[in-house]
């Protein structure tokens, strides 16, 4: 699985949405939170994971990379 947001920890700062080089995130305007919108395009670079101020994003390798 690519990036996964733990919404309990997410403060909606938008860094993941702002920085993802593959534009994997979209912004849910209603709830004012990021959503993983294009997960199959995830590069697994970990930028969202390392830049998230609350470590609210986890990232793991999918089966197809084994």
């Amino acid at each position: 699985m690519p990036a996964k947001i733990e919404y309990k920890k997410c403060i909606g700062c938008g860094r993941c949405y702002d920085l993802c080089p593959l534009d994997v995130f979209a912004w849910d305007e209603e709830k004012d939170i990021p959503v993983v919108a294009y997960e199959y395009e995830c590069w697994h670079c970990g930028i969202c994971w390392m830049e998230c101020p609350k470590r609210a994003i986890d990232i793991t390798y999918p089966a197809s990379f084994w």
């Binding site: 920085l19 993802c20 080089p21 395009e41 995830c42 697994h44 670079c45 970990g46 390798y61 197809s64």
Partner: protein, 565 residues
């Protein structure tokens, strides 16, 4: 129709830089320093984009300052004897020497831009690399945020999430570009007196590891957003010349990528062992020995290779870990999740598969980094004959430092509105398609054609069949490309570029009827002496593709020349 009615937004600038990476940021910052109005269009977000998005642990190609062309050639021979990997035969030698000779000048310029080049003790740390010659080890996890801040500070107008689609020309001179905002879908026209392409090379014509027919098909080592061949394709479509498109790099298909990053041990100068799967040691970096691998592929022995650090003492292991922090922090997390211990586990690569079009192929440039299209410059990985960080930074700074000479003489750009209108219709077409083909499906089909019919060991019949299939795929499915929103429009436009590059690649493979460097023909297993020093050029002329061999330019500088910067 008036331009204001066609475009959602019009941007006017002196210089447009396409791509905000290790070459684009220096080019933009330096040009702005000379008082020019500079616009930088970045497909992602400059703070974390491009090949250096996650950071880099090395500044490769840091040759000593003030070396002469003769000394430079000596250096290249010393780490790549008789082969000159990425060296002069594939580029204008004068330009090639200039980018190497200014690598250390670029270090000082980077420091002025706010990029950290020194270690905590205040020193720069030179390091000897096994495959790239002299370089500096750098703590560059944050090189991109630092560069992006530097560029903004110098007053560059940065357009984030903006994909440049096509270049605009008038009377054979570049006058700007069309672009889309990948978040809002706005169609943007950028009027510019000069354009600097600073995109990457192209991997996406080739499958990554693992090419399963399912999802997550962006498993490349380098940033997949950067390596879609945008810069090459837009330059070609506008009439600029590309060269050496038959050459392809091997050895970079890493199955265990981000578990143990490939570069880290090599870039730390650590003697890792390269093994076959029964533990037999192989020597050197076999990916570059084209003929041997063509033979392996012909025999169907497409075997993985392994990199092992298990024989090394603890202090080496610590150094590798520091390099992980600098380049790919996520490696620690993924290794831990997978139960992969870099100290004892071997790291798997598929060395004998084509990995990307890189190093030799690219936009052909003269000694001043200008392409065959006046006003169009290129810097960094999209140049023919480039592969490392110092070349990228140096080329960027060099162009940024001199482009005012061209801009100040250039006339006001005149935009052909009818042309813009037709480009707009082509670019936005996927938004209007219903029940069409999704970009990733079409892109996977292109990659599979390149895998099946081109590969490492090439031959006439297979290449012709590949070209035929690619042609019919393009005719039938390109008009059916569907984009549900602006994000997918970006992917759809990338596929168009990927298709153009794949076509140029196969045509070039067919044209070079000999075996030379990274191009192996099973039906022409020897080098043809009449093609020594002959580069293969491709360009679009009056809507027709032209392909021809021409002798590369000679070295214009005397043996004892010294760069003054």
């Amino acid at each position: 129709m008036a331009l204001e009615k066609i475009a959602d937004r019009i941007v006017e600038t002196d210089v447009l830089v396409v791509g905000g990476g290790i070459a684009g940021c220096p080019a933009a910052a330096k040009a702005a320093e000379h008082g020019l109005k500079v616009t930088l269009a970045e497909k992602a977000k400059t703070d974390r984009s491009g090949s250096a998005a996650e950071g880099i642990d090395h500044y490769g190609g840091a040759f000593p300052r003030g070396m002469t062309p003769k000394e430079w050639q000596g250096y290249i021979d010393s780490f790549s004897p008789g082969f000159a990997y990425g060296a002069a035969p594939w580029a204008d030698p004068t330009r090639f020497y200039r980018q190497y000779a200014n690598g250390m000048w670029a270090v000082e310029e980077l420091e002025k831009l706010g990029v950290t080049m020194r270690w905590t003790d205040g020193e720069r740390r030179p390091c000897d690399c096994h495959h790239e010659g002299p370089f500096l080890r750098v703590h560059w996890q944050n090189v991109k945020p630092e560069m992006a801040a530097g560029v903004r500070k110098r007053g560059v107008n940065v357009l984030e999430r903006t994909m440049v689609v096509d270049l605009l020309t008038n009377n054979g001179v570049v006058t700007g570009a069309t672009a889309i905002d990948t978040r809002t879908g706005e169609f943007i026209v950028i009027k510019s007196k000069a354009v600097v392409i600073a995109t990457a090379a192209c991997s996406r014509v080739i499958n990554p590891e693992t090419p399963l027919p399912w999802k997550y098909k962006f498993n490349y080592h380098w940033c997949p957003s950067s390596v879609s061949g945008d810069g090459w394709a837009m330059a070609y479509r506008a009439g600029a010349e590309l060269s050496s498109m038959e050459q392809a790099e091997r050895g970079g298909r890493f199955r265990d990528d981000k578990v143990m990053s490939f570069g880290n041990h090599g870039n730390e100068g650590i003697p890792a062992k390269r093994l076959t799967w029964d533990g037999e040691e192989t020597i050197g970096r076999p990916g570059f020995r084209s003929r041997r691998f063509a033979e392996i592929q012909r025999q169907g022995r497409d075997e993985p290779r392994y990199i092992s650090l298990e024989h090394l003492p603890d202090d080496y292991q610590k150094r590798v870990e520091v390099a992980f922090v600098d380049e790919r922090l996520v490696s620690f997390k993924i290794a831990e999740d997978r139960g992969f211990n870099p100290r004892t586990h071997w790291y798997e690569t598929m060395d004998n598969r084509v990995n990307q079009l890189h190093v030799e192929p690219g936009i052909y440039l003269d000694a001043d980094f200008m392409s065959s299209l006046p006003g169009l410059y290129a810097v960094g990985d999209c140049m023919a004959g480039n592969h490392d960080v110092a070349n990228a930074a140096a080329s960027g700074f060099l162009v940024g430092d001199s482009i005012h000479e061209f801009v100040n003489k250039a006339s006001e750009p005149v935009i052909d509105e009818a042309r813009v209108e037709s480009l707009k219709q082509i670019s936005l077409a996927p938004l209007g398609v219903k029940d069409g083909t999704e970009p990733m499906e079409l892109e996977s089909a292109v990659r599979y054609i390149c895998d099946r019919y081109v590969g490492v060991a090439r031959a006439e019949g297979r290449l012709r069949e590949g070209l035929r299939r690619l042609g019919s795929l393009k005719r039938e499915f390109l008009p059916q490309l569907v984009a549900k929103n602006p994000h997918y429009l970006m992917r759809a436009l990338e596929v168009r570029n990927v298709m153009d590059i794949a076509e140029l690649h196969i045509q070039a493979c067919l044209e070079r009827k000999e075996t030379r460097m990274a191009h192996t023909r099973l039906d022409y297993p020897e080098a043809d002496p009449s093609l020594d020093d002959m580069l293969l050029f491709q360009r679009l002329e009056n809507g027709k593709s032209v392909i021809e061999f021409r002798k590369r330019a000679p070295m214009a500088l005397p043996d004892d020349h010294k760069e003054e910067r």
